[in-house]
Symmetry: C2
Amino acid sequence: MTTGRIELPRLDDLHTHLRQEGMMQTVAPLTWSGGAGRVLVMPNTLPHIRTTREALDYREQLIAVEPRLRYLMTLYLTPDLHPDEVRRAADSDFVVGVKSYPRGVTTHSDAGVESYEPYDPVFEAMQDAGLVLEIHGELPSDPVNDICCLNAEARFLPMVERLHRDFPRLRIVLEHITTAEAVRFVRDAGETLAATITAHHLELCVDDWAGQNHHFCKPVAKYPHDREALRAIIDEGHARFFLGSDSAPHPRDVKEAAVGCAGVFTGAHLAVHLATTFERMGALRRLTDFATRFGREFYRLPPLDESIVVERGPTEVPAQYGEVVPFRAGTELPWRIVD
Amino acid sequence: MTTGRIELPRLDDLHTHLRQEGMMQTVAPLTWSGGAGRVLVMPNTLPHIRTTREALDYREQLIAVEPRLRYLMTLYLTPDLHPDEVRRAADSDFVVGVKSYPRGVTTHSDAGVESYEPYDPVFEAMQDAGLVLEIHGELPSDPVNDICCLNAEARFLPMVERLHRDFPRLRIVLEHITTAEAVRFVRDAGETLAATITAHHLELCVDDWAGQNHHFCKPVAKYPHDREALRAIIDEGHARFFLGSDSAPHPRDVKEAAVGCAGVFTGAHLAVHLATTFERMGALRRLTDFATRFGREFYRLPPLDESIVVERGPTEVPAQYGEVVPFRAGTELPWRIVD
């Protein structure tokens, strides 16, 4: 594992943003060359992906742009989502889940949910049909109740606890977790509750996005001890914590702005970022399980045939890909992909 | 106090950045028109202000640009500062203090201090000569010890406690405090320990600078409950908490950038920002003491003769002043200054 050469299946990235139109043309091929083989594509496009039919259309657009990637789709949870649509989605061979955004917390989340109880019939149908619920787990900011971007994730956990208790067969993924509280919560939960961890949250903490908008994302990176908790659960090799990059490209001019968009674009070098970070963590032995096995098993997906080799050697990250500034732009990373 | 018209002395702003050269030409007149009458000018110019002679030169430049403002000066604490220079400064009629920056924490703080013990002879001389110690109270970030911009102020307090205990006659100002911990600490300390509070820290919390570099400053704004603690101590009318705006202009292109500079430029409308915020806090009755009396008394300064009137009525904040984007740019504030 410290030989400086790792052969592993192409990555299962169970949370990514591939966008639309010109941005999609840029990002989808880079996602393949960055090492992913199969990706769960977020539905916060405009308009949002709300039906199996819309997911199919979007997926066909993606296949036309980058046919080598395998695309898993998820529907945007809104009050319009009917249990019948849930069953229709589950009968497709490409919709694997339903994604819940809290209202107003991140990009295009104006249609997000405010309270989960009204959705219980949908969750019941999902549980029976075998769809996974993917949750962006943050409360909206509320200064009167001292809720801000720093504690929005920890304060959200009781809502997940209620769902997990009331729908014990429903597989739930708490996405892009950033806090020690969320690590403990998921670790101590039952087998149907898992979490994704991004590459950048293993690298960043609050100091890294203070004044640095290319590192600003939602949920924001938290304290050093939170980052340490994410690293520790990976080092442990816990099977319910796996890769979801939340790679989220935005044009440079809406990042380097008075009010910057949230998102870090790691997709173009995802395997290399992970190898770099896992080596620093002393956890290279966990890379393959974290990025190619645990997520696939939780989602009950077949293994991928295609492999990549990640080996020691420089990767020069360019300043931009099209309009997008990638994570670690302008630096040299110590690993590289060999196809 | 709720009549919509307040006559008060021009403000004593006991912490501001007036910069040099072209920026100084822009900022010093705006500081006057924003309502200040007397300002304590920070010494983190390039080169830093380290001697009484350098402070005199800088002050003469400022007088040439804006002769109406009264300038109080402070020396940058470095290992070169000798007790003889402290006595020389105290004998001048314009140097009132010595400013301590922790190394590397904010703009031009590369010469800041790492540990206070070596400076004890300087503090002894300051205590005897009657100079005030102004402290930027943050530890440098240190992930191994879980120190980041969110807890750097609270973790610094023991260093201030030691100074306050060992030099009980030394007047110390803990500047631009941002946390409930710092409020409690200063409130519970002796009469020689005070704190300044900025206008923007009464308005902002962490959500407001996440991705919004014009609201990014050091110390960063913290949780809503911290902001509430700052508001509460002002509402109480505590005499050891007073105005230091830390108004800190930077050119727009170094704010709206991949790595933005820290600083919020409130000086151009300082009295109006304060009236707006104090009204929202229900604390307009505290405005005059906070902004014109408590600080002056702690620094043992004579009252200012010049007055301003702040009255209800719109102030349009422009998008920019020269290269600088002011706080609340492009908005209308509900109070205005009448000279």
